[in-house]
Protein backbone atom coordinates (compact mmCIF):
# COMPACT_ATOMS: atom_id res chain seq x y z
CA UNK A 1 0.00 0.00 0.00
CA UNK A 2 1.27 3.45 -0.90
CA UNK A 3 0.13 6.92 0.06
CA UNK A 4 -1.61 7.10 -3.30
CA UNK A 5 -3.65 4.03 -2.33
CA UNK A 6 -4.71 5.85 0.82
CA UNK A 7 -5.90 8.74 -1.31
CA UNK A 8 -7.77 6.54 -3.78
CA UNK A 9 -9.40 4.66 -0.90
CA UNK A 10 -10.58 7.98 0.49
CA UNK A 11 -12.41 8.71 -2.76
CA UNK A 12 -13.77 5.19 -3.14
CA UNK A 13 -15.27 5.42 0.30
CA UNK A 14 -18.32 7.25 -1.04
CA UNK A 15 -18.56 6.14 -4.66
CA UNK A 16 -21.86 7.86 -5.39
CA UNK A 17 -20.76 11.18 -3.97
CA UNK A 18 -17.40 10.93 -5.70
CA UNK A 19 -19.17 10.06 -8.95
CA UNK A 20 -21.54 13.00 -8.76
CA UNK A 21 -18.70 15.34 -7.93
CA UNK A 22 -16.75 14.06 -10.91
CA UNK A 23 -19.76 14.69 -13.08
CA UNK A 24 -19.94 18.23 -11.72
CA UNK A 25 -16.34 19.05 -12.62
CA UNK A 26 -16.45 17.21 -15.89
CA UNK A 27 -19.37 19.29 -17.14
CA UNK A 28 -17.29 22.42 -16.61
CA UNK A 29 -14.31 20.89 -18.34
CA UNK A 30 -16.50 19.61 -21.17
CA UNK A 31 -17.72 23.18 -21.65
CA UNK A 32 -14.12 24.36 -21.90
CA UNK A 33 -13.23 21.73 -24.45
CA UNK A 34 -16.35 22.18 -26.56
CA UNK A 35 -16.65 25.96 -26.53
CA UNK A 36 -12.98 26.85 -26.61
CA UNK A 37 -12.38 24.08 -29.14
CA UNK A 38 -15.01 25.60 -31.36
CA UNK A 39 -13.87 29.18 -31.01
CA UNK A 40 -10.23 28.25 -31.57
CA UNK A 41 -11.42 26.15 -34.47
CA UNK A 42 -12.68 29.35 -36.01
CA UNK A 43 -9.14 30.71 -36.15
CA UNK A 44 -7.44 27.50 -37.18
CA UNK A 45 -10.01 26.65 -39.84
CA UNK A 46 -9.84 30.10 -41.42
CA UNK A 47 -6.08 30.16 -41.15
CA UNK A 48 -5.94 26.80 -42.89
CA UNK A 49 -8.18 28.19 -45.59
CA UNK A 50 -5.87 31.16 -46.06
CA UNK A 51 -2.89 28.89 -46.26
CA UNK A 52 -4.58 26.85 -48.97
CA UNK A 53 -5.15 30.02 -50.95
CA UNK A 54 -1.52 30.94 -50.46
CA UNK A 55 -2.47 34.11 -48.63
CA UNK A 56 0.05 35.56 -46.21
CA UNK A 57 -1.58 38.89 -45.40
CA UNK A 58 -5.22 39.81 -45.16
CA UNK A 59 -6.49 43.37 -45.33
CA UNK A 60 -9.91 43.62 -43.77
CA UNK A 61 -11.99 45.89 -41.64
CA UNK A 62 -13.18 44.17 -38.49
CA UNK A 63 -13.03 47.33 -36.43
CA UNK A 64 -15.94 47.71 -34.07
CA UNK A 65 -18.12 45.06 -35.61
CA UNK A 66 -18.69 41.35 -35.38
CA UNK A 67 -18.36 40.69 -39.10
CA UNK A 68 -15.95 42.38 -41.48
CA UNK A 69 -17.28 45.66 -42.86
CA UNK A 70 -17.01 46.22 -46.58
CA UNK A 71 -14.68 48.89 -47.86
CA UNK A 72 -14.01 50.33 -51.32
CA UNK A 73 -12.27 48.05 -53.79
CA UNK A 74 -9.85 50.79 -54.88
CA UNK A 75 -8.06 50.43 -51.54
CA UNK A 76 -6.17 47.65 -53.24
CA UNK A 77 -4.51 50.07 -55.63
CA UNK A 78 -2.72 51.78 -52.74
CA UNK A 79 -0.94 48.64 -51.59
CA UNK A 80 -0.64 46.48 -54.68
CA UNK A 81 2.59 48.11 -55.77
CA UNK A 82 4.39 48.08 -52.44
CA UNK A 83 7.72 46.27 -52.60
CA UNK A 84 7.27 42.74 -51.28
CA UNK A 85 3.70 42.34 -52.57
CA UNK A 86 3.64 39.54 -55.15
CA UNK A 87 -0.08 39.37 -55.86
CA UNK A 88 -3.39 40.58 -54.51
CA UNK A 89 -6.94 39.32 -54.72
CA UNK A 90 -10.02 41.27 -53.73
CA UNK A 91 -12.74 39.32 -52.03
CA UNK A 92 -16.22 39.93 -50.68
CA UNK A 93 -17.23 37.41 -48.01
CA UNK A 94 -20.64 37.24 -46.43
CA UNK A 95 -22.45 34.86 -44.14
CA UNK A 96 -25.93 34.23 -45.45
CA UNK A 97 -28.83 31.93 -45.07
CA UNK A 98 -29.18 30.01 -48.31
CA UNK A 99 -32.29 27.98 -48.89
CA UNK A 100 -32.46 25.51 -45.97
CA UNK A 101 -29.00 26.22 -44.63
CA UNK A 102 -29.09 28.83 -41.90
CA UNK A 103 -25.63 30.19 -42.38
CA UNK A 104 -23.27 29.64 -45.29
CA UNK A 105 -19.99 31.27 -46.21
CA UNK A 106 -20.46 33.01 -49.53
CA UNK A 107 -17.20 34.07 -51.06
CA UNK A 108 -17.06 36.40 -54.07
CA UNK A 109 -13.55 36.30 -55.56
CA UNK A 110 -11.94 38.62 -58.06
CA UNK A 111 -12.09 36.90 -61.38
CA UNK A 112 -8.85 35.25 -62.44
CA UNK A 113 -6.98 35.89 -59.21
CA UNK A 114 -4.99 33.36 -57.19
CA UNK A 115 -7.87 32.63 -54.78
CA UNK A 116 -9.37 30.40 -57.47
CA UNK A 117 -6.21 28.35 -57.95
CA UNK A 118 -6.52 26.07 -54.94
CA UNK A 119 -9.99 24.90 -55.99
CA UNK A 120 -9.62 21.40 -57.42
CA UNK A 121 -12.71 20.50 -59.38
CA UNK A 122 -14.32 17.29 -58.21
CA UNK A 123 -16.97 17.56 -60.88
CA UNK A 124 -18.25 20.10 -63.37
CA UNK A 125 -16.28 23.13 -64.45
CA UNK A 126 -15.31 26.63 -63.40
CA UNK A 127 -17.55 29.56 -64.48
CA UNK A 128 -16.81 30.58 -68.07
CA UNK A 129 -16.40 34.24 -67.18
CA UNK A 130 -17.18 36.62 -64.39
CA UNK A 131 -20.58 37.48 -65.77
CA UNK A 132 -21.94 33.94 -65.94
CA UNK A 133 -24.66 33.39 -63.33
CA UNK A 134 -22.86 30.44 -61.86
CA UNK A 135 -21.40 29.26 -58.58
CA UNK A 136 -18.84 26.69 -57.55
CA UNK A 137 -19.65 24.82 -54.35
CA UNK A 138 -17.11 23.48 -51.91
CA UNK A 139 -17.62 19.75 -51.39
CA UNK A 140 -19.18 20.22 -47.92
CA UNK A 141 -21.33 23.09 -49.13
CA UNK A 142 -22.68 20.82 -51.88
CA UNK A 143 -23.54 18.22 -49.23
CA UNK A 144 -25.19 20.72 -46.92
CA UNK A 145 -27.22 22.30 -49.70
CA UNK A 146 -27.81 18.91 -51.33
CA UNK A 147 -26.85 20.20 -54.75
CA UNK A 148 -25.29 18.61 -57.77
CA UNK A 149 -24.03 20.00 -61.05
CA UNK A 150 -26.83 21.70 -63.00
CA UNK A 151 -28.99 22.47 -59.93
CA UNK A 152 -29.76 26.05 -59.10
CA UNK A 153 -29.00 27.84 -55.86
CA UNK A 154 -31.04 30.77 -54.66
CA UNK A 155 -28.89 33.54 -53.23
CA UNK A 156 -30.99 36.47 -52.07
CA UNK A 157 -33.23 37.04 -55.09
CA UNK A 158 -30.90 35.59 -57.65
CA UNK A 159 -30.99 32.05 -59.02
CA UNK A 160 -27.51 30.77 -59.88
CA UNK A 161 -26.50 27.53 -61.54
CA UNK A 162 -24.10 25.14 -59.85
CA UNK A 163 -21.45 24.59 -62.52
CA UNK A 164 -18.73 23.01 -60.41
CA UNK A 165 -18.05 21.25 -57.14
CA UNK A 166 -14.52 21.71 -55.86
CA UNK A 167 -12.21 20.60 -53.13
CA UNK A 168 -10.51 23.69 -51.70
CA UNK A 169 -8.11 21.72 -49.51
CA UNK A 170 -9.37 23.23 -46.26
CA UNK A 171 -12.50 22.91 -44.20
CA UNK A 172 -13.64 26.51 -44.62
CA UNK A 173 -12.97 26.43 -48.35
CA UNK A 174 -15.00 23.26 -48.73
CA UNK A 175 -17.85 24.80 -46.78
CA UNK A 176 -18.04 27.86 -49.03
CA UNK A 177 -20.21 28.92 -51.89
CA UNK A 178 -17.77 30.53 -54.35
CA UNK A 179 -18.62 32.88 -57.16
CA UNK A 180 -17.02 35.71 -59.12
CA UNK A 181 -16.72 38.95 -57.17
CA UNK A 182 -18.84 41.24 -59.41
CA UNK A 183 -21.72 38.80 -59.25
CA UNK A 184 -21.77 38.79 -55.45
CA UNK A 185 -21.34 42.57 -55.34
CA UNK A 186 -24.35 42.90 -57.56
CA UNK A 187 -26.48 40.37 -55.64
CA UNK A 188 -25.73 41.94 -52.28
CA UNK A 189 -25.82 45.52 -53.48
CA UNK A 190 -22.21 46.15 -52.46
CA UNK A 191 -21.13 47.84 -55.66
CA UNK A 192 -17.36 48.26 -55.82
CA UNK A 193 -17.15 47.10 -52.23
CA UNK A 194 -14.95 44.31 -50.88
CA UNK A 195 -14.44 42.86 -47.42
CA UNK A 196 -10.92 41.57 -47.77
CA UNK A 197 -7.79 41.78 -49.83
CA UNK A 198 -5.77 38.60 -49.85
CA UNK A 199 -2.10 39.37 -50.31
CA UNK A 200 0.69 37.09 -51.43
CA UNK A 201 4.17 38.29 -50.60
CA UNK A 202 7.33 37.66 -52.53
CA UNK A 203 8.58 34.11 -51.92
CA UNK A 204 10.94 33.63 -49.00
CA UNK A 205 9.77 36.58 -46.92
CA UNK A 206 10.01 35.76 -43.20
CA UNK A 207 7.52 36.61 -40.43
CA UNK A 208 9.29 39.82 -39.54
CA UNK A 209 9.19 40.89 -43.16
CA UNK A 210 5.47 40.12 -43.33
CA UNK A 211 4.84 42.14 -40.19
CA UNK A 212 6.85 45.02 -41.53
CA UNK A 213 4.89 44.91 -44.76
CA UNK A 214 1.64 45.00 -42.77
CA UNK A 215 2.87 48.11 -40.97
CA UNK A 216 3.68 49.73 -44.28
CA UNK A 217 0.22 48.91 -45.62
CA UNK A 218 -1.52 50.20 -42.53
CA UNK A 219 0.07 53.61 -43.04
CA UNK A 220 -1.62 53.78 -46.44
CA UNK A 221 -5.07 52.39 -45.75
CA UNK A 222 -7.03 53.99 -42.91
CA UNK A 223 -10.19 52.18 -44.05
CA UNK A 224 -8.76 48.71 -43.62
CA UNK A 225 -6.29 46.83 -41.50
CA UNK A 226 -3.53 44.55 -42.73
CA UNK A 227 -2.53 41.59 -40.60
CA UNK A 228 -0.78 38.27 -41.15
CA UNK A 229 -3.40 35.73 -42.27
CA UNK A 230 -5.10 34.07 -39.30
CA UNK A 231 -4.27 36.87 -36.91
CA UNK A 232 -6.87 38.95 -38.63
CA UNK A 233 -9.43 36.45 -37.35
CA UNK A 234 -7.88 36.07 -33.89
CA UNK A 235 -7.81 39.84 -33.39
CA UNK A 236 -11.24 40.46 -34.84
CA UNK A 237 -13.98 41.77 -32.63
CA UNK A 238 -16.19 38.84 -33.58
CA UNK A 239 -13.66 36.27 -32.52
CA UNK A 240 -12.96 38.11 -29.29
CA UNK A 241 -16.65 38.17 -28.43
CA UNK A 242 -17.04 34.49 -29.24
CA UNK A 243 -13.93 33.65 -27.27
CA UNK A 244 -14.98 35.75 -24.29
CA UNK A 245 -18.43 34.20 -24.30
CA UNK A 246 -16.93 30.73 -24.52
CA UNK A 247 -14.63 31.40 -21.58
CA UNK A 248 -17.39 33.12 -19.64
CA UNK A 249 -19.70 30.16 -20.03
CA UNK A 250 -16.89 27.73 -19.28
CA UNK A 251 -15.77 29.61 -16.19
CA UNK A 252 -19.30 29.62 -14.84
CA UNK A 253 -19.49 25.89 -15.39
CA UNK A 254 -16.07 25.49 -13.76
CA UNK A 255 -17.18 27.61 -10.79
CA UNK A 256 -20.05 25.21 -10.25
CA UNK A 257 -17.48 22.41 -10.31
CA UNK A 258 -15.31 24.23 -7.75
CA UNK A 259 -18.27 24.58 -5.40
CA UNK A 260 -19.10 20.90 -5.89
CA UNK A 261 -15.59 19.73 -5.07
CA UNK A 262 -15.27 22.09 -2.12
CA UNK A 263 -18.56 20.87 -0.73
CA UNK A 264 -17.63 17.24 -1.22
CA UNK A 265 -14.22 17.59 0.35
CA UNK A 266 -15.60 19.62 3.24
CA UNK A 267 -18.25 16.99 3.94
CA UNK A 268 -15.61 14.34 3.67
CA UNK A 269 -13.39 16.13 6.21
CA UNK A 270 -16.30 16.63 8.60
CA UNK A 271 -17.43 13.05 8.50
CA UNK A 272 -13.86 11.83 8.87
CA UNK A 273 -13.02 14.13 11.77
CA UNK A 274 -12.59 11.29 14.22
CA UNK A 275 -10.68 9.24 11.68
CA UNK A 276 -8.34 12.17 11.12
CA UNK A 277 -7.89 12.48 14.88
CA UNK A 278 -7.02 8.77 14.99
CA UNK A 279 -4.44 9.25 12.23
CA UNK A 280 -2.95 12.11 14.25
CA UNK A 281 -2.90 9.91 17.36
CA UNK A 282 -1.09 7.24 15.33
CA UNK A 283 1.59 9.80 14.56
CA UNK A 284 0.58 11.30 11.24
CA UNK A 285 1.67 14.90 10.95
CA UNK A 286 -1.03 17.48 10.27
CA UNK A 287 0.87 18.25 7.06
CA UNK A 288 0.29 14.68 5.88
CA UNK A 289 -3.43 15.03 6.54
CA UNK A 290 -3.43 18.28 4.55
CA UNK A 291 -1.59 16.57 1.73
CA UNK A 292 -4.05 13.68 1.80
CA UNK A 293 -7.02 16.04 1.41
CA UNK A 294 -5.30 18.12 -1.28
CA UNK A 295 -4.31 15.03 -3.24
CA UNK A 296 -7.81 13.65 -2.96
CA UNK A 297 -9.30 16.80 -4.41
CA UNK A 298 -6.55 17.10 -7.02
CA UNK A 299 -7.30 13.52 -8.05
CA UNK A 300 -11.00 14.37 -8.22
CA UNK A 301 -10.06 17.25 -10.49
CA UNK A 302 -7.79 15.11 -12.64
CA UNK A 303 -10.38 12.37 -13.12
CA UNK A 304 -13.09 14.97 -13.68
CA UNK A 305 -10.80 16.56 -16.26
CA UNK A 306 -10.39 13.32 -18.18
CA UNK A 307 -14.11 12.60 -18.14
CA UNK A 308 -14.75 16.23 -19.07
CA UNK A 309 -12.44 16.05 -22.07
CA UNK A 310 -14.27 12.95 -23.30
CA UNK A 311 -17.65 14.60 -22.76
CA UNK A 312 -16.35 17.73 -24.47
CA UNK A 313 -15.26 15.79 -27.54
CA UNK A 314 -18.69 14.19 -27.77
CA UNK A 315 -20.32 17.58 -27.21
CA UNK A 316 -18.27 19.16 -29.96
CA UNK A 317 -19.29 16.47 -32.43
CA UNK A 318 -22.91 17.30 -31.62
CA UNK A 319 -22.39 21.07 -31.78
CA UNK A 320 -20.61 20.72 -35.10
CA UNK A 321 -23.79 19.28 -36.54
CA UNK A 322 -25.81 22.32 -35.47
CA UNK A 323 -27.28 23.92 -38.61
CA UNK A 324 -25.66 27.27 -37.82
CA UNK A 325 -22.18 25.78 -37.65
CA UNK A 326 -22.19 23.09 -40.29
CA UNK A 327 -19.42 23.55 -42.76
CA UNK A 328 -18.23 26.77 -41.17
CA UNK A 329 -15.54 25.58 -38.88
CA UNK A 330 -13.68 22.51 -37.78
CA UNK A 331 -13.32 22.42 -33.97
CA UNK A 332 -9.72 22.74 -32.87
CA UNK A 333 -9.32 19.76 -30.54
CA UNK A 334 -5.58 19.49 -30.45
CA UNK A 335 -3.87 17.81 -27.49
CA UNK A 336 -2.90 21.27 -26.34
CA UNK A 337 -6.48 22.10 -25.49
CA UNK A 338 -7.00 18.72 -23.80
CA UNK A 339 -3.93 19.24 -21.66
CA UNK A 340 -5.01 22.77 -20.80
CA UNK A 341 -8.44 21.49 -19.83
CA UNK A 342 -6.98 18.77 -17.61
CA UNK A 343 -4.57 21.27 -16.06
CA UNK A 344 -7.51 23.55 -15.33
CA UNK A 345 -9.34 20.60 -13.76
CA UNK A 346 -6.40 19.70 -11.52
CA UNK A 347 -6.04 23.36 -10.56
CA UNK A 348 -9.75 23.45 -9.76
CA UNK A 349 -9.31 20.34 -7.63
CA UNK A 350 -6.42 21.76 -5.65
CA UNK A 351 -8.13 25.13 -5.30
CA UNK A 352 -11.30 23.49 -4.04
CA UNK A 353 -9.32 21.39 -1.60
CA UNK A 354 -7.56 24.32 0.06
CA UNK A 355 -10.26 25.26 2.54
CA UNK A 356 -11.22 21.65 3.41
CA UNK A 357 -7.52 20.87 3.84
CA UNK A 358 -7.11 23.81 6.16
CA UNK A 359 -10.09 22.58 8.15
CA UNK A 360 -8.58 19.12 8.33
CA UNK A 361 -5.37 20.56 9.75
CA UNK A 362 -7.36 21.98 12.63
CA UNK A 363 -8.87 18.70 13.80
CA UNK A 364 -7.81 18.12 17.41
CA UNK A 365 -5.98 14.84 17.96
CA UNK A 366 -7.77 14.50 21.32
CA UNK A 367 -10.90 13.67 19.31
CA UNK A 368 -9.41 10.21 18.84
CA UNK A 369 -10.20 9.34 22.47
CA UNK A 370 -12.96 11.82 23.22
CA UNK A 371 -15.10 11.26 20.14
Amino acid sequence: MTFLDVIIRGLKRRPLRTGLTLLGISVGIAAVVALIGLSRGLVTSWTAGMRQRGTEIVVSNFRGSLTPKPFPAFTRDRIANLPGVAATCTILVDLMGIENAELMIVSGREWGCFAWENLKLVSGRMPNDQNEHAVVLGTNAADILKKKIGDTVQIETEELTVVGIANGGAFVENGSVILPLPLLQQITGNHDQISAIDVRVTPGMNDAGIRHLCDEMNKLIPEGHAEPAGEHIASSEGYRVINAMSWGTSLLAILVGVLGVTNTMLMSVFERKQEIAVLLALGWRPSRIVRMILWESALLGFLGGIIGVLLGIIGVQLLKMAPALRGMLEPDLRTNLMLEAIAIAVFVGVLSGLYPAWRSSRVAPSLALHG
Binding site: R9, G283, W284, L369, H370
Partner: protein
Protein backbone atom coordinates in the same frame (compact mmCIF):
# COMPACT_ATOMS: atom_id res chain seq x y z
CA UNK B 1 17.23 12.40 25.09
CA UNK B 2 16.15 13.85 21.82
CA UNK B 3 12.68 12.91 20.71
CA UNK B 4 13.12 13.96 17.14
CA UNK B 5 16.29 12.24 16.09
CA UNK B 6 17.06 9.33 18.40
CA UNK B 7 14.13 7.74 20.17
CA UNK B 8 14.82 7.20 23.79
CA UNK B 9 14.22 3.48 23.88
CA UNK B 10 17.89 2.80 24.50
CA UNK B 11 19.19 5.05 27.23
CA UNK B 12 16.97 6.49 29.92
CA UNK B 13 17.82 9.89 31.31
CA UNK B 14 15.25 9.34 34.05
CA UNK B 15 14.08 6.19 35.76
CA UNK B 16 10.53 7.30 35.07
CA UNK B 17 8.74 7.00 31.77
CA UNK B 18 6.17 9.53 32.93
CA UNK B 19 6.41 12.09 35.69
CA UNK B 20 3.47 14.40 36.32
CA UNK B 21 3.17 17.04 39.00
CA UNK B 22 0.10 19.13 39.71
CA UNK B 23 -1.48 18.13 36.42
CA UNK B 24 -4.64 20.15 35.83
CA UNK B 25 -6.93 20.03 32.81
CA UNK B 26 -9.93 22.30 32.47
CA UNK B 27 -12.42 22.31 29.63
CA UNK B 28 -14.92 24.90 28.46
CA UNK B 29 -13.00 27.92 29.76
CA UNK B 30 -12.50 26.46 33.19
CA UNK B 31 -16.08 25.38 33.75
CA UNK B 32 -15.23 21.68 33.63
CA UNK B 33 -12.38 20.39 35.76
CA UNK B 34 -11.34 17.07 34.26
CA UNK B 35 -8.04 16.78 36.15
CA UNK B 36 -7.53 18.67 39.42
CA UNK B 37 -3.88 18.28 40.25
CA UNK B 38 -2.60 14.79 39.52
CA UNK B 39 0.88 13.74 40.72
CA UNK B 40 2.18 10.58 39.18
CA UNK B 41 5.33 8.66 38.37
CA UNK B 42 5.36 5.61 36.17
CA UNK B 43 8.46 3.52 35.79
CA UNK B 44 9.78 1.95 32.65
CA UNK B 45 8.13 -1.39 31.97
CA UNK B 46 5.32 -1.01 34.45
CA UNK B 47 1.82 -2.33 33.88
CA UNK B 48 -0.54 0.23 35.39
CA UNK B 49 -4.33 0.02 35.47
CA UNK B 50 -6.28 3.22 35.77
CA UNK B 51 -9.73 2.76 37.27
CA UNK B 52 -12.47 5.04 38.46
CA UNK B 53 -16.03 6.06 37.79
CA UNK B 54 -17.24 7.58 34.58
CA UNK B 55 -16.17 11.20 34.19
CA UNK B 56 -13.37 10.90 36.74
CA UNK B 57 -10.70 11.94 34.22
CA UNK B 58 -9.18 8.61 33.12
CA UNK B 59 -9.32 9.31 29.41
CA UNK B 60 -8.20 12.89 29.93
CA UNK B 61 -5.13 11.65 31.79
CA UNK B 62 -4.34 9.24 28.95
CA UNK B 63 -4.60 12.11 26.47
CA UNK B 64 -2.05 14.13 28.40
CA UNK B 65 0.37 11.18 28.48
CA UNK B 66 -0.06 10.62 24.74
CA UNK B 67 0.39 14.33 23.91
CA UNK B 68 -3.02 14.42 22.25
CA UNK B 69 -3.84 17.46 24.33
CA UNK B 70 -2.01 19.88 26.62
CA UNK B 71 -2.64 20.22 30.33
CA UNK B 72 -3.96 23.55 31.58
CA UNK B 73 -1.39 23.60 34.37
CA UNK B 74 1.31 21.43 35.90
CA UNK B 75 4.34 19.66 34.51
CA UNK B 76 4.52 16.44 32.58
CA UNK B 77 7.72 14.71 31.59
CA UNK B 78 8.44 11.74 29.35
CA UNK B 79 11.75 10.12 30.25
CA UNK B 80 12.88 13.35 31.84
CA UNK B 81 11.89 15.62 28.98
CA UNK B 82 8.90 17.95 29.18
CA UNK B 83 5.96 16.93 27.01
CA UNK B 84 4.65 20.48 27.10
CA UNK B 85 7.23 21.87 24.74
CA UNK B 86 7.79 18.95 22.43
CA UNK B 87 9.36 20.14 19.20
CA UNK B 88 7.50 17.50 17.22
CA UNK B 89 4.48 15.97 18.97
CA UNK B 90 3.66 13.89 15.88
CA UNK B 91 7.04 12.17 16.06
CA UNK B 92 6.49 11.49 19.74
CA UNK B 93 3.09 9.94 19.05
CA UNK B 94 4.44 7.97 16.10
CA UNK B 95 7.53 6.47 17.69
CA UNK B 96 7.16 6.50 21.48
CA UNK B 97 3.49 5.77 22.02
CA UNK B 98 1.07 3.13 20.80
CA UNK B 99 -2.64 3.81 21.20
CA UNK B 100 -5.37 1.23 21.60
CA UNK B 101 -8.95 2.48 21.62
CA UNK B 102 -12.15 1.04 23.01
CA UNK B 103 -13.86 1.38 19.62
CA UNK B 104 -10.81 -0.01 17.73
CA UNK B 105 -10.89 2.85 15.19
CA UNK B 106 -9.70 0.76 12.28
CA UNK B 107 -10.15 2.38 8.88
CA UNK B 108 -13.02 0.51 7.22
CA UNK B 109 -11.70 0.69 3.66
CA UNK B 110 -8.32 -0.82 4.51
CA UNK B 111 -7.44 -4.44 5.11
CA UNK B 112 -5.96 -5.65 8.37
CA UNK B 113 -2.47 -5.46 6.89
CA UNK B 114 -3.07 -1.99 5.49
CA UNK B 115 -4.44 -0.72 8.79
CA UNK B 116 -1.30 -1.91 10.50
CA UNK B 117 0.80 -0.10 7.89
CA UNK B 118 -0.91 3.27 8.37
CA UNK B 119 1.40 4.54 11.16
CA UNK B 120 4.47 3.44 9.20
CA UNK B 121 4.06 6.22 6.64
CA UNK B 122 5.83 8.49 9.12
CA UNK B 123 8.69 6.04 9.51
CA UNK B 124 10.60 6.09 6.19
CA UNK B 125 10.00 2.44 5.50
CA UNK B 126 9.79 1.15 1.97
CA UNK B 127 6.57 -0.33 0.72
CA UNK B 128 7.93 -3.86 1.00
CA UNK B 129 9.26 -3.22 4.49
CA UNK B 130 5.89 -1.89 5.59
CA UNK B 131 4.17 -4.95 4.21
CA UNK B 132 6.61 -7.34 5.80
CA UNK B 133 6.42 -5.61 9.17
CA UNK B 134 2.61 -5.67 9.09
CA UNK B 135 2.64 -9.39 8.42
CA UNK B 136 5.09 -9.96 11.26
CA UNK B 137 2.92 -7.96 13.67
CA UNK B 138 -0.30 -9.67 12.60
CA UNK B 139 1.43 -13.01 13.17
CA UNK B 140 2.43 -11.81 16.61
CA UNK B 141 -1.22 -11.14 17.48
CA UNK B 142 -2.29 -14.46 15.97
CA UNK B 143 -4.00 -13.08 12.85
CA UNK B 144 -1.80 -14.40 10.05
CA UNK B 145 -4.96 -15.90 8.55
CA UNK B 146 -6.71 -12.53 8.45
CA UNK B 147 -4.09 -10.35 6.81
CA UNK B 148 -6.22 -9.36 3.82
CA UNK B 149 -9.55 -9.16 5.59
CA UNK B 150 -11.41 -5.89 5.90
CA UNK B 151 -12.48 -4.86 9.42
CA UNK B 152 -16.13 -5.56 8.64
CA UNK B 153 -15.22 -9.22 8.10
CA UNK B 154 -13.48 -9.53 11.47
CA UNK B 155 -14.90 -10.25 14.92
CA UNK B 156 -14.60 -7.59 17.62
CA UNK B 157 -11.74 -9.40 19.27
CA UNK B 158 -9.92 -9.77 15.96
CA UNK B 159 -10.40 -6.09 15.23
CA UNK B 160 -8.89 -5.13 18.53
CA UNK B 161 -5.95 -7.44 17.88
CA UNK B 162 -5.42 -5.72 14.52
CA UNK B 163 -5.56 -2.40 16.37
CA UNK B 164 -2.95 -3.67 18.82
CA UNK B 165 -0.74 -4.78 15.94
CA UNK B 166 -1.17 -1.29 14.49
CA UNK B 167 -0.18 0.31 17.81
CA UNK B 168 3.08 -1.64 17.63
CA UNK B 169 3.86 -0.57 14.08
CA UNK B 170 6.72 1.77 14.89
CA UNK B 171 7.95 -0.20 17.95
CA UNK B 172 6.86 2.20 20.68
CA UNK B 173 7.96 1.64 24.26
CA UNK B 174 4.64 2.65 25.79
CA UNK B 175 1.13 1.37 25.13
CA UNK B 176 -1.81 3.53 26.14
CA UNK B 177 -5.08 1.61 26.07
CA UNK B 178 -8.44 3.18 26.86
CA UNK B 179 -10.86 0.40 27.84
CA UNK B 180 -9.49 -1.93 25.17
CA UNK B 181 -11.92 -4.69 26.15
CA UNK B 182 -14.92 -2.43 26.71
CA UNK B 183 -16.63 -3.47 23.47
CA UNK B 184 -15.78 -7.17 23.67
CA UNK B 185 -17.44 -10.30 25.01
CA UNK B 186 -15.58 -11.96 27.87
CA UNK B 187 -13.82 -14.56 25.74
CA UNK B 188 -12.46 -12.01 23.28
CA UNK B 189 -11.68 -9.71 26.18
CA UNK B 190 -9.54 -12.39 27.79
CA UNK B 191 -7.73 -13.02 24.53
CA UNK B 192 -6.95 -9.32 24.10
CA UNK B 193 -5.90 -8.97 27.70
CA UNK B 194 -3.56 -11.98 27.42
CA UNK B 195 -2.07 -10.39 24.34
CA UNK B 196 -1.46 -7.07 26.10
CA UNK B 197 0.05 -8.85 29.11
CA UNK B 198 2.41 -10.82 26.94
CA UNK B 199 3.48 -7.63 25.13
CA UNK B 200 4.26 -6.16 28.51
CA UNK B 201 6.06 -9.27 29.68
CA UNK B 202 7.92 -10.21 26.47
CA UNK B 203 8.67 -6.83 24.99
CA UNK B 204 9.17 -5.02 28.29
CA UNK B 205 6.67 -2.39 27.23
CA UNK B 206 5.15 0.09 29.61
CA UNK B 207 1.42 -0.63 29.58
CA UNK B 208 -1.09 1.90 30.87
CA UNK B 209 -4.59 0.58 30.66
CA UNK B 210 -7.87 2.28 31.57
CA UNK B 211 -10.56 -0.14 32.64
CA UNK B 212 -13.81 -0.51 34.53
CA UNK B 213 -13.22 -4.20 35.00
CA UNK B 214 -11.77 -5.14 38.37
CA UNK B 215 -10.59 -8.51 37.15
CA UNK B 216 -8.51 -6.75 34.52
CA UNK B 217 -7.19 -4.21 36.99
CA UNK B 218 -6.20 -7.14 39.18
CA UNK B 219 -3.78 -8.33 36.49
CA UNK B 220 -1.82 -5.08 36.66
CA UNK B 221 1.22 -4.51 38.83
CA UNK B 222 -0.26 -1.28 40.03
CA UNK B 223 -3.62 0.45 40.05
CA UNK B 224 -4.37 4.14 40.06
CA UNK B 225 -7.87 5.06 41.12
CA UNK B 226 -9.28 8.31 39.77
CA UNK B 227 -12.15 10.24 41.31
CA UNK B 228 -13.31 13.73 40.33
CA UNK B 229 -10.07 14.44 38.51
CA UNK B 230 -7.80 13.33 41.36
CA UNK B 231 -5.80 10.17 41.90
CA UNK B 232 -7.29 8.91 45.15
CA UNK B 233 -5.48 5.58 45.31
CA UNK B 234 -2.17 4.44 43.89
CA UNK B 235 -0.84 1.04 44.74
CA UNK B 236 -1.36 -2.69 44.71
CA UNK B 237 -4.51 -3.58 42.75
CA UNK B 238 -5.34 -6.20 45.35
CA UNK B 239 -5.83 -3.42 47.86
CA UNK B 240 -8.42 -1.63 45.72
CA UNK B 241 -11.55 -2.02 47.79
CA UNK B 242 -14.73 -2.71 45.90
CA UNK B 243 -16.61 0.25 47.35
CA UNK B 244 -14.07 2.67 45.91
CA UNK B 245 -14.87 1.61 42.42
CA UNK B 246 -17.70 2.65 40.19
Amino acid sequence: MNLTSSPSKAGAASRYVFEATGLIKDFDDGQVHALRGVDLQIEDGEFVAIVGPSGSGKTTLLQMLGALDRPSEGTLKYRGESLLDLPDPAAYRAHEIGFVFQAFHLLPTFTASENVQIPMFEDHKSRAERQERALELLKAVGLEERVNHYPAKLSGGERQRVAIARSLANSPSVLLADEPTGNLDSESANHVLDLLRSLHADRRMTLILVTHDMSIAACAQRAIQMKDGCAVFDGDPAKLSIHRIA
